[in-house]
Each structure stands twice: as C-alpha cells, then as structure tokens.
C-alpha cells in the first residue's frame, strides 16, 4: 500500500515541476531581461553621448556617419524613447504590385488557412513531446514498484511519439506551404519582415534541424536505450532537450507575430535600430509564449484524448476498452492541468495589449472584436463543462465514489451561475422597445456582470470548482486512515471556503476602486485560485498515506456521455484556438505591423462575425480531417502487441 501511495505522488509532482520549468521563462523572463536591459540601456546611452559629442566636435566637417533614431516602444530610465543607430531601411509603402492574388479566393483567406493549419500541427507536435517526457519519466519512476504499469506508461509514450513523428513531417510541409504563401502573395510585406528578422530566421532554420535530429534519435533510439538503467535515463533526458529546442523554436516564431502586433526595436519609420533582442523581445513576447505553451498542452491533450476516446468507443474486447479508457484519463488529466492556468495567461496577455495601445485593448474588449470575445466566453464555458462532465462521469466507475457524487449537482449549479455571469455581455443586443423597457442600455441587476470584476470572480470560481471536483475524484476510492484525517479535511474545507469568500470579496471590492487598481485585484484572485490548487492537492495527496482502497477503478466502464465530453472538449478547443488567433491577429485592423507598415491590400478589412465563424469552422474541420489521416498513417506500421491490462493492479499509479 505504501508503494502505491508513493507512485500516486509521481504524476502530479512531475507535472508540477514541468509546469514550473515551462513557466520560468515567462515569469522570470521580465526580471532577467530588465536587468540585462538596464546594463545595455546604460551602455547604449553612454555610447550615444560619445557619438553625439564626437559629432559636435566634428561639426562642420561633414555629415555624421551614424544616424540615431528613437525607438517606437522602448524607453530609458527617464521615460524618454530609447535611441539606437539606424541600421535598416524604412518600412515600404506597399502598393498594388506588392500583393498577388489568385482568382478563386482572397489572398488573406488563403494565408489565414495556411497559417492556421501550420499552427494547429505545430501546436500538436510541440505538445506531444511534453506528454512523452512526463509519461516516460513516470514510467521510469514506477518501474520498481509496479513494473506492469511502468511498461504501460513506456508503451504509451512510445505510441504517442510514433504519431508525433508523422505529424512532425506534416508540420514541416505545412510550414513550407505557409512560407511560399507569404513569399508569393505578400512579397512586399515578407521582404520587410525578412530584412528585420534575417538572423532570427536563420537561427530558426538551424533550430529546426536540431529539433529533427534530436527527435529522430529520441524515437528511433527508444528500444535500443530501453535497458532499464543508465541509458533509459539518458533517453528520458533527450526528451527534455527535445522540449527545450521545441520551446525555443516556438518562441522564435512567436517573435514575428508579436513584433507585428506590438513592435519594438524600430523607429517610427520602421527602421531597424540595430538591436535584434529588442525586436524579438517586444512587449507581448513573454505572455504569448506562456499562453501558447499552455494552449499547446490543452490542445495536445484534447487530441490524444479524442484519439483514445474513438478507440474506446470502437473497441470490441474488454482489454482494449480498459486500455483506451486509461489513456483517455491520462490525456484528460494533462489537458485539465493545462486548462486551469490558461485563462490567467490570457489575462496577462490582454493586460499587456491594453498597456501597449489603449485603442487595441478597446477594439478587443469593447469595440469591433467584443462580440468575438463573447463567443470565446461561450467556448471556454464549454471546455469547463466538458472537463467537469468527464470528471463526474469518471467518478461513477470508481468504487466508493458514491460518498462524493451527491455534491456533483451543486458543483454544476455553481458552474452554471458563474458561467452566466462570465458570459453576460456589457452591451446587450436588443430592440429599441426592449431598451426602453429596461430603462437604459444597462440592466440594473445583470448590468453589473458586464465588467471585469464580475468576470474575474466568475472564472476563478469556475476553476476552483473544477479543482474541487478533481480532488474529490482523486480520493473517490480511498478510505483515509491517517490520524490527522479530520484536521486535513477541515483544512481542505477551510481552504476552499476561504478561497471562494476571498475571490467574491475581491470581486465586489473591485466595483469601488478605480479601474487601474481594479485590474490589479485579478492578481490576488489568481493567487488565491492557484494556492487552492497547490495547497488543496498537496494536503489531499498527503492524506492518502496508508489509505485503504475501497475498490479498484473499473477501467473500461466509462459512460458514453463522459467519453463524448472528450470529443466536445477537443473540438471546442480547436475552434477556440482558431478564434483567439484570429482575434489577436485581426486587432491590427489595417496594419501589417502596427502603426509602421500599413496593409494596402484589397483584403485590409475586418471580416463580419459570420464570415469569420465560417472560416474558423472550416479550419477546424480541415485540421481534424488531417489528424484522422495522420493517425491512420501512423497506425499503418506494424501494430505492437497491446499491453496486457494487469490483472492484479489495473489502477494507474496516480490513482492509488
């Protein structure tokens, strides 16, 4: 039993560390970057003064050789624009000849499709190695205590990698298509971007080479390095390297998009000011990076979950059903783990967008894009519903869960109430007669739900509810025997009740504060939620020590509703990813690079909500067709003998 308890701790702890490692660049990046910038800014200013002095001395002796210009974004200590040596040509004024098009579709639509498909696949191939790293690590760690489960973990990781390998080639092909689409349809724009990012693009290509090399060694070396000892650890370490390279790749590619949205390192004319780090590390770089890592994890988890759910529903024998039911669980566990912090990363990103340009924030939240955000709210609600529905249904196949099942309906009620608050728009679509009946544009009761104080409160409560649901799921089949069980339960109750009260208090308090301070309240709200997540999980797991099992999880008996919830989650998330990508990109309106390079193409208009919705749906369907093909291609290779479901211990490590 003790051994089981130890194994239980492995997956959450591994996830926690992996999460911490991936958040580090984002959270610490600013601090490190600022220190580095401080020195650099001093050096640049000193250099600038020397050059100016030299210019003054040389006055009358001819034109100065170096022209200095002001950065559009970066400022020095005194708040004045940072100066840098002009090192590039100004942004061109694009004309008719800078855009090409085909007859059958607008260039922008073609580019959107190419970009979105590449991003979907890129997201998947970056996410799968993260899973494989974690699953392989858990397999190695549980080798001694439970060799059968260890083998299952190892085989699962290997199978996922096989799919990823096919998807990797596919991603590269889609990347090529995207590149050619840029070059052929938007040559003027791409020339400018290539001039600015020239070194980054070469480094990117080289990193891609490194990624491929490491990926092939990792996959093809799997069996050879599976000696159960030192080589296996080396193999697992290669997956860490693979993920690091993948993350760098993604961050480099992100820099192009974030530069287009919120440029830095150039002057008002779009001339490069000589510091490539300034261009890469523009204000949205870190939040976009963190947001994408988390999004990739959820997306990858959703796809793997849907893959397993399909096999679960079509399985003909109990053994296969049990296996894929378990795979569904692992995928959903990872998926929900990424889903919980995802809204916080989104808030951070939006805060940075607002801080960069007020009009961009207004266009997003209160202007032309606001209705897309309402749709986004619906989709996020669906994700939480799907996740909770899966957990509720999963609980029912765990013996002993009846103790907790009775609370499910209250959690559903709380979720619905919060979600109602979460998606109540500030501006309501209504007829003039309805407007007059309400007595004004805002409803006296629900009008209060239209602002961020209410929405932050709602989303935090929804997350806390999901966490509670997960904790109950974890302890569903356990009889707690630790002597401090009562105290532990009291602590968990106090943490959750306290968190809910604190979140509600901060939400209400926000109505009495100025907007800039109100925005700041989201930080303690998020901290409260994360504290609940970590402290609640830690206490919960600690209470499982020497716990008695009330029965095994009956793998292979998951209800159909719970399984369909996985499909709902995967499809909704795919659509949501497309939607948010479109919003983030379309907020530039008629700019290729905000306020620097104007989009003078015939496509420089904002699509109607209906048209955008059609495109998003098409992209979602198209990518899922491709995923089906990729999974089919991956299954063409000789199928390994299915891991035999263990008879004695059919419960995965983290569930005991």
């Amino acid at each position: 039993m003790l051994g089981k308890t130890r194994r239980l701790n492995i997956l959450p702890i591994a996830l926690f560390f992996a999460f911490a490692v991936y958040m580090m660049p984002g959270l610490a990046g600013d601090a490190f970057a600022k220190e580095a910038f401080a020195e650099q800014a001093f050096a640049e200013q000193a250099f600038a003064k020397e050059v100016m002095a030299a210019d003054d001395d040389a006055e009358g002796e001819g034109e100065p050789e170096i022209e200095w210009s002001q950065d559009v974004f970066y400022k020095d200590f005194e708040g004045n624009p940072l100066k840098g040596p002009v090192s590039g040509a100004p942004a061109p004024e694009l004309g008719e000849n800078d855009y090409n098009n085909y007859e059958f579709a607008p260039s922008r639509i073609i580019l959107w499709m190419a970009n979105q498909q590449h991003l979907y696949f890129g997201s998947f191939v970056l996410a799968v190695p993260i899973f494989c790293m974690l699953i392989e690590f858990v397999g190695i760690r549980s080798r001694e205590s439970d060799p059968v489960m260890a083998k299952k973990y190892d085989m699962l990781a290997h199978d996922l990698m096989k799919v990823s390998l096919t998807a990797y080639s596919w991603t590269a092909i889609l990347g090529g298509i995207l590149l050619f689409t840029f070059i052929t349809l938007f040559p003027g724009f791409f020339k400018y971007m290539a001039t600015i990012f020239r070194p980054v693009m070469h480094v990117y290509a080289l990193m891609f080479l490194a990624e491929s090399g490491v990926l092939y060694v990792y996959y093809y070396g799997w069996d050879k390095m599976n000696d159960g000892g030192f080589l296996k650890w080396v193999h697992c370490s290669i997956s860490v390297l693979l993920n690091l390279i993948g993350t760098v790749l993604m961050y480099l590619a992100n820099s192009w998009a974030t530069f287009m949205q919120a440029p830095g390192g150039i002057d008002e004319q779009g001339r490069f000011l000589g510091n490539i780090w300034h261009v890469i590390h523009s204000t949205l770089w870190n939040p976009v990076g963190v947001h994408r890592i988390l999004g990739n994890i959820v997306f990858g988890g959703g796809i793997v979950g849907a893959y397993a759910a399909y096999h679960y529903l079509t399985a003909r024998d109990e053994e296969t059903k049990a296996h894929y039911d378990w795979v569904c669980y692992v995928a959903m566990f990872i998926c929900i783990f990424g889903l919980i912090p995802l809204p916080f990363a989104g808030y951070w990103l939006m805060k940075e967008v607002y801080a960069f340009r007020q009009q961009m924030g207004i266009t997003l939240m209160g202007g032309i894009m606001a209705w897309l955000f309402i749709i986004q709210a619906v989709m996020i609600g669906l994700l939480f519903f799907a996740a909770n529905s899966y957990l509720h249904n999963s609980m029912s196949r765990v013996q002993g869960s009846q103790r907790y099942m009775k609370y499910c309906k209250y959690m559903v009620l709380l979720l619905i109430v919060c979600f109602t608050m979460w998606m109540t728009p500030h501006t309501i679509v209504m007829t003039p007669a309805e407007l007059k009946e309400m007595g004004g544009a805002q409803h006296p009761i629900i009008g209060h739900f239209g602002v961020m104080s209410a929405k932050n409160t709602a989303v935090n409560l929804m997350i806390v509810t999901t966490i509670l649901c997960f904790l109950l799921y974890q302890r569903a089949n356990k009889k707690i025997t630790v002597p401090w069980a009562t105290a532990g339960n009291c602590w968990i109750t106090a943490i959750f009740v306290g968190a809910a009260l604190n979140i509600i208090f901060l939400g209400v308090y926000g109505y009495f504060l100025p907007a800039n301070q109100r925005v700041g309240l989201s930080v303690p709200q998020v901290t409260t939620t994360l504290t609940t997540l970590f402290a609640g999980t830690a206490i919960n797991i600690s209470m499982f020590k020497d716990s008695e099992s009330m029965g095994d999880i009956k793998w292979g008996t998951q209800s159909k509703v719970g399984t369909y919830a996985i499909f709902l989650l995967a499809i909704s998330f795919t659509w949501l990813m497309g939607l948010m990508g479109y919003i983030r990109s379309a907020v530039r309106l008629f700019w290729h690079v905000t306020e620097v390079l104007r989009d003078n193409s015939p496509d420089a208009y904002t699509l109607t909500i209906g048209e955008a919705g059609k495109m998003l749906t098409f992209n979602t369907l198209f990518v899922w067709v491709q995923f089906v093909v990729v999974f089919w291609v991956a299954s063409l290779s000789a199928k390994p003998a299915a891991a035999k479901a263990p008879d004695a211990v059919p419960v995965p490590a983290q569930q005991q």
């Binding site: 800014a41 400022k75 708040g79 529905s389 309805e434």
Partner: protein, 320 residues
Amino acid sequence: MNKSFLSLILAVAGWAVFHYGLLPIFTPKVAGWIFNPYVYFLIFCAYLIIVNVGMRLNPPMALKAFYVWMLGYYFYDAILTPHIPWTLFITYMMLWSIGTFLYISQDPTTFREFRAPIVKTIVGEYKLARIVVFTLLPVLVGFATWNTLYPSFAEPVELRTVHPAPPSTTKVHGKTYKLEEIGNPFRTDEQDNYKDSFPFLDKTEYMKNVTEGGTVFFENCHYCHGDQLNGLGMFSHAFNPTPANFIDPGTIAMLQESFLFWRVSKGGPGLPNESTPWSSAMPPWEEHLTTDEIWKVILFEYWYTGWHPRTFDTEGSTAE
C-alpha cells in the same frame, strides 16, 4: 395516487398559488430587503424541495430535470426585473439547458433514469404518452413553422459597438495631441489623493475647475446625458442607442481621460471607419467649446460620478 403524478400536481398547483397569490405581494413599487421577487423565488424553491422531500415523493429524474429547467425559465422570464432582452434570454436559457443536461448526465445511473420514460414512450410501454406525444409533435412543428414564416414587424436588433477605438493622435483647435501621452491638465492628482492628504494638496483650485466644468455640462450636455449623468436626459429617449450612462462602471470608469477628450471633441462625425455604421448623435464639441472647457467637463464627470480615469502601468514599455 402515483407519487410522481402527485409531485407534479403539487408543483403546478403550488406555482399557481405562489405566482398569483404571493408574487404581487413581493413586488411592491419600491422593493425592500424582504419583499422583493428574488426572496419570493427562494421561497418558491424551498416550497418545492420541502414538499418533495418532506412527503417522500422522490420524483423520477425526468421530472426533477423538468422542475430544474422550468425554475430557470420562470426566473429569467418572470422574476428577473426589468425583463431582459430576448437575445439574452435565449442565451441564458441555453446555458441553463446545458446545466440541466449536466445535472441529468452526471453519472450513468441518473442518465439512465432520465432516459427511461423517454425510451418507454418511444417503444410503446407508455401507450397513452406515446399517443399524446406523437400527436402533439406534428402540431408543434407546424406551429413553429407557422410562427417562423408569419411576417413580423419587430424592430431589428442592433449589434452595437460601445467603445470605438480611438486614433493614436487627434487634432483639436489646431494642436495635435498624442492620446497615449496626454492627461487632463486640470487634474491635481491622478487618483484624487488630495482628499486624503490634506493639507499637502489644496483642492480649492481643483474644485474651482470642477465647478466650471459642471457649469459647461449643465449648459450643454445634461439634455442628453441627464442631470444625474446616468444617460437619461430629457432628450435621451429620442435616441437609439440612448446616450452614455457615466454612472455605469463600464463607461468612463474604464477609459483614459484622453479617450473622453477625443470622443467629446470629435463627437459622432469623428468616429473611426471600423464598426460603421455608428449611431452617435453627439456633435463635435470642439466647434462649440474651448479645449480647456472640454477638459473641465471631463474633470466634472469623473468628480460627480466618483470614478477615476483609467491609467496604465508604463513599466512594460521601459527598457530599464
């Protein structure tokens, strides 16, 4: 008597008594802490629970789901006042329906229970129910078709954009202003901290400017925006949409003063191309007021409503 049937009779009869007997009592002209429709709704919910639990009626899952769904419908349709617009009502009911589905599908047992009467009706075990359902279904479809095709003359709904995105610069009275950088020249302190820091900041000068701004407001703006700044001025009902309500936490409280400066100066004609057509009747006040008067009016609006203009942390844009 069948317990499920009894439960249904008690629910319907209870609702009739509550709705026609109690609800008028709980909806006085001025709602109090006790006598308001929300307390009434809680009492009605309590009645339903007490009757079913107290009498051990234990209604089947399908009936429970029906109660839950109807409670949501009743709340949004009759309790929540003033009545919410149709689009929002549909949205809320969609959410409530999802919630009801989550409730019935929370585990395979409850879902099976819920499905049982439906399956029995379809396969013919409940003969009478099957006859009723399959007779009513075509009638219902026919009615829905008729209802959809029947021409209606309702005013169209508006998908309105509230906050237009401002430009980065604006030119007022011949001077170009960068909206990201300017603030109100008459604001003594960004957050009005003078209130708490007496005697370090004198508010006399500030109040003088506020008063002047108020004078301008009542001479020019209150006809539409209202003497309580709530968007309900004497002309407001002639406009669609109604003029901005400054008391609402989602209007000036969310915006920088520079946004208001641009919006007041340029009015409806100065709105940007995106999100057109706009429905703003506000004149470009730069043609009637001086720059200082515009800033003072803005100062007054914040002072009166108690909001503070939005400011942003500029830390992210420094390269220190």
